[in-house]
């Protein structure tokens, strides 16, 4: 069994919100995803990935902004990790 990983970045902290960005890492070696290889997300929402058999194993926490940095922007906030074992 090898792990195939999908990372989805969503519009809000809700798993049913829109996919804004994505990455994929394929431990089976069947595919070789890389940076900038597609403009179309694999799913429209996180829930759509669940319905296609991806198992959620990590979600980003909701962390309040550091005092004094409430208006700073940085990494994408709502990161969800999924896997399939193949």
């Amino acid at each position: 069994m090898k792990q195939h990983v999908l990372v989805l970045y969503l519009n809000t902290s809700g798993l049913d919100s829109q996919v804004l960005a994505w990455a994929e890492y394929d431990g089976t070696g069947k595919t070789n995803p890389t940076t900038g290889d597609g403009d179309d997300p694999p799913y429209e929402t996180g829930v759509e990935a669940l319905r296609d058999g991806w198992r959620l194993f990590q979600a980003s926490q909701l962390i309040p902004p550091y005092p004094g940095h409430e208006y700073d922007t940085s990494f994408l906030k709502h990161e969800f990790w999924f896997e399939k074992l193949e």
Binding site: V19, L20, A21, D39, P41, L76
Partner: protein, 270 residues
């Protein structure tokens, strides 16, 4: 840099503030493009010390000087970085045919949080870049996100990203912070991109043609939502663009939809 004409308008500059780039397709004449690749292959680009004025960095007759003397390039560069910038560094970047890997998404140098000053990076593409040649990936509007170099390497694709394809002689001017990377070249052709980084030497205040400063399209341009940005964070992006526009115009009262005024309103408090 030979001209003060061909300056960007306020609307164009506002688009740069919102998007982090200004693109000029096929702005370089064919004769210069045809010279470029053999000279790049021959490694004829001179060493330039950090902080060298343009006229000292690139001799008359060099490709770099000719590129920077194109009126539209000179005007756009002056509009963004101001007159008489210095050259930080320059380099020819090559994506080899079928080299197999893309660069991780990154910002150049190190995290750089300046909001009232910025460096400009010029990217010049002397040949046609087609979809499979590994043209630069960039993320419009990512330049104000505070991330360090390739810490963004986990992100492979984002809605609204730009996978550059362009005609020969295209020049793109970029804010120092924009997320970008060379894509995997799946073609049989070497892909070239020549980059020069410029540092400002004067305050970047009203360095463009400000005759349209009150055009409503300025606020409209600064208010754009990028499709990769979370809705909530996109509002903060607008707030940060307001701060940048205030600095670039020296107008501390500038606002859009009351975003900056509202959160600073503390009557009677010091």
């Amino acid at each position: 840099m030979t001209t003060t004409k061909h300056l960007l308008t306020s609307v164009e500059t506002a688009r740069f503030v919102a998007n982090g780039y200004h693109r000029m397709d096929a702005i370089v004449p064919p004769g210069l493009n045809e010279r470029a690749i053999p000279e790049f292959d021959a490694g004829q680009q001179p060493h330039v010390d950090y902080g060298t004025p343009v006229k000292d960095a690139f001799p008359e007759g060099s490709i770099s000087r000719a590129l920077l003397d194109i009126p539209a390039v000179a005007g756009a560069l002056q509009s963004l970085v101001g007159p008489d910038p210095t050259v930080d560094h320059h380099h020819v970047h090559v994506r080899e045919p079928h080299e197999g890997n893309a660069q991780p998404l990154h910002g150049d140098a190190i995290i750089d949080t300046r909001i009232d000053a910025f460096d400009v990076q010029l990217m010049y593409y002397p040949q046609e870049v087609t979809a499979d040649m590994g043209g630069t990936l960039s993320v419009p509007g990512s330049h104000l996100r505070r991330t360090n170099e390739s810490d963004t390497g986990r992100y492979q694709n984002l809605r609204g990203q730009t996978r550059l394809t362009c005609p020969p002689g295209t020049v793109v001017l970029l804010h120092h912070g924009i997320w970008h990377g060379g894509r995997r070249n799946d073609s049989d052709i070497r892909r070239y991109m020549y980059k020069i980084r410029f540092n400002p030497t004067v305050p970047q205040v009203r360095t463009w043609d400000v005759s349209d400063l009150d055009d409503p399209q300025v606020a409209e341009a600064l208010s754009v939502f990028h499709p990769w940005s979370e809705h909530a964070t996109a509002r903060l992006e607008i707030y940060n663009r307001i701060k940048m526009w205030r600095a670039l115009t020296n107008d501390p009262s500038f606002d859009i939809d009351y975003w900056a005024t509202r959160v600073a309103n503390r009557p009677g408090r010091v």
